[in-house]
Symmetry: C2
Subunit: 256 residues, 2 copies
């Protein structure tokens, strides 16, 4: 039942496709039925080569795919460890760039209202992702659809001291500020945390956006992180009627 593998490759093995694919399917079946339990080590490449009467190359190709599918992880000198017994279905939302994360900031205009150098207290440190006592600069501003147009959001940006010298460029910078900071940073942004909440519109924002008291805000807090720490944190208050945050999460791969 498992011996036409010694036949010529890619011809009529039993199922279809190349040999590594058939071996992969067999191994996946064993993972599912518990032959290789989670946490255990799978047979070595040499053992599998012998079992399937094939070269290490072919076995490696099958194992590479199992790794990509999240079934196993492999470590030099250690072996192939089973980390999942299911095809590791997972869902993801992807953006080609952080700009896409939020569709604003393109063709919009930013007006600085003021800025202030502050020392982080405990609460603020938690909000911006810094440490208590660090010196940051807070920049207040409003983003408009166009000069003299409709105000879109009230924004407070928190910039660590190392990048405070860029704050004067905020006023004229086209595009999101994390871009400005990232292009002046030696390390790239590798993570963005976002917290979305509903809140009453702060009074200052209310005034600047021309809203009536009691207005509701969709609040977006974002921390852009590099390996060195937070690059910039911004908090946007959008009028609730004007903005909703839409996302689509897709299943990736995997059957069942």
């Amino acid at each position: 039942m498992s011996e036409d593998l010694s036949d010529k490759p890619t011809q009529k093995d039993d199922g279809v496709g190349p040999r590594y694919a058939r071996i992969q399917r067999i191994l996946e079946a064993r993972l599912r039925d518990g032959t290789y339990p989670i946490g255990s080590l799978m047979p070595t490449e040499v053992e599998l080569s012998a079992e399937f009467d094939t070269s290490r190359f072919t076995v490696r190709e099958a194992l590479r795919n199992l790794t990509d599918s999240g079934f196993v992880e492999r470590r030099q000198g250690l072996g192939t460890r089973v980390i999942s017994t299911q095809p590791q279905v997972h869902y993801s939302q992807t953006f080609d760039s952080l700009q896409e994360l939020f569709q604003v900031a393109v063709e919009t205009y930013y007006v600085v209202l003021g800025s202030e150098v502050i020392a982080l207290d405990k609460e603020l440190a938690g909000v911006v992702g810094g440490k208590v006592g660090e010196v940051w600069t807070r920049v207040d501003g409003v983003r408009w659809t166009r000069p003299g147009g409709r105000p879109m959001a009230y924004i407070q940006s928190y910039v660590p001291q190392a990048f405070a010298h860029l704050v004067p460029q905020f006023q004229d910078y086209k595009g999101p500020f994390f871009n400005l900071l990232e292009s002046n940073s030696v390390v790239p942004i590798d993570e963005c945390e976002q917290e979305i909440s509903a809140a009453p519109m702060p009074e200052a924002a209310q005034r600047q956006l021309g809203l009536t008291p009691g207005a509701i805000a969709l609040q977006l807090l974002r921390r852009y992180r590099t390996s060195e720490g937070v690059l910039i944190t911004s908090c946007n208050w959008h009028p609730a009627e004007q903005l909703s945050y839409k996302m689509r999460i897709k299943r990736n791969r995997g059957q069942s």
Copy 2:
């Protein structure tokens, strides 16, 4: 400057790491500087093997990584086509399951307040993702931390007619309803759309959640889709103070 490649492998090529990695870096540099323009075909495996005085295997490993990084696409019989000149950095948020998408619904209790069979008008059709005139069932309910505990959210669920027979099971079902429906569906959920917005708490929700007039809600609208259409749409109103939606978006691969 490019001729210590004929030396022994993985020893001291020039930079660091294995040979395929060095070749990969060289090729990436050429992609960036326009030596291989977008849309063109890169040199063939054999040509690259000759240039770098290495085996096809090693070149293939480099090209495989370029493919994974989104630089090129490869077609048998055709060649290696340049599709991007940038490391195709992209960011993604992933969930291992849709449950993780939202951390609620585990160890919580749901109480049905009532349900109603409705025909979709134009507005409702847009909201739930159905067609005008279709018959759906709307189920109103409240989710509690525990029986008699704290109310967490007011929920309206919209279920298409095909699954209306499952509505009586909502009351006792542990876990999110899309799970219940999916396990009674022949096709799996492959997509979830989510819209997050801020809004005044609806009056009915206000009453059920024991809130004062003027309360603010974080509203989450989710449509779970299969290949056959929407499986279930739910709209949750959470008290603004009780919930914020947090997400973390990570850079995937690629340097610079």
